[in-house]
């Protein structure tokens, strides 16, 4: 219960960080982010997340060179790795962990999967675009969102819909 309350408070602080400009606001945002990091590192919420970061490293390492798939795939660049890392960091505590993959055009992918008909895939491009496609039962959704260090609402909503279905 305490963790849940803390987590929701920290999500609110994170929203503040994007808009607060004063020194006080920055200080609060920095402390909140620090606390968030501690929360992630705790066993209660951090275990799954640590595994995803490890997976991200492993997939990136495996796909760093051209033709990593035998079909001439583009390499996964450092920019894509760093953006995917930041995206994972920006996920609110308690969000189910995705699995990591890569596409032949060099984008890293984060996938939330429940069944072939309940799935969301987000591609992280080295330019900072998040391309997503979801199947939620009979419904589909796809589009692009720019990544500005906060997980776009459209993507968060899809994650929640997927896991509520």
């Amino acid at each position: 219960m305490l963790i849940e309350m803390t987590a929701s408070a920290l999500i609110s602080f994170n929203a503040l960080s994007a808009h607060g400009a004063s020194t006080e606001a920055q200080f609060v945002a920095e402390r909140a982010n620090e606390a968030r990091r501690h929360l992630y590192e705790s066993n209660a919420l951090g275990l799954q997340k640590r595994e995803v970061f490890e997976e991200l490293c492993a997939v990136t390492e495996e796909c760093r060179t051209r033709n990593w798939d035998g079909y001439g795939a583009d390499p996964v660049l450092d920019d894509a790795y760093q953006l995917a890392y930041r995206f994972l960091e920006a996920l609110p505590p308690g969000t189910p962990a995705p699995s990591v993959g890569a596409e032949p055009d060099g984008h890293l992918t984060l996938e939330w999967y429940r069944s072939p008909h309940h799935t969301l895939s987000v591609s992280v491009s080295p330019e900072g675009d998040l391309h997503y496609a979801a199947l939620v039962g009979p419904n589909k959704a796809y589009g692009t969102e720019a990544f500005f260090w906060d997980v776009p609402k459209a993507i968060l909503d899809l994650i929640h819909r997927l896991h509520a279905a």
Binding site: E62, G70, E103, D105, H131, A133, Y142, T144
Partner: protein, 145 residues
């Protein structure tokens, strides 16, 4: 294999193999991730038409794809994702023969839209239709060492 075979249009329900050279393209339940069907930047997604080939020949081609991988680690063939030409046509895409010296059945799935989200959506549909066939010598994914 005769030259004339290469230029024949793919049959409506002909099987097409996309060789799986990355374990993260197959989920634990052996369904295929859409990543495997997202086209490369030239929008020509490589597949191999079964074309009545014996399984052995098909796997040999798959191994030659895996051997092309240019990483420090040796390329591994995990299996193949089979779809039909009608799965492709249903997504308003085409199958075009693109024979290679080492694989006369090599083809491209073409006609992809330019925008990435629509490509991803189509890849999701192809992956949904695909059937994973494990490479016969490969321990089942998630159960190997």
């Amino acid at each position: 294999m005769s030259d004339s075979f290469q230029t024949l249009p793919a049959l409506v329900d002909e099987l097409l193999a996309r060789f799986i050279t990355k374990d993260f393209w197959v989920r634990a339940d052996e369904s295929i991730r859409p990543d495997a069907f997202v086209p490369p930047k030239d929008h020509n997604l490589s597949v191999t038409r079964h074309g009545g080939m014996p399984e052995e020949t098909l796997w040999k081609i798959g191994h030659s794809v895996a051997e092309m991988i240019s990483t420090k680690r040796r390329g591994i063939l995990y299996g193949r994702a089979d779809i039909t030409t009608s799965d492709v046509v249903r997504q308003s895409l085409k199958v075009e023969a693109a024979p290679l010296p080492e694989n006369v059945n090599h083809s491209h799935i073409t006609g992809w839209p330019k925008d990435k989200p629509t490509q991803k959506h189509i890849a999701q549909r192809l992956a949904e239709a695909a059937k994973f066939v494990a490479e016969p010598q490969m321990p089942r994914l998630g159960q190997g060492p």
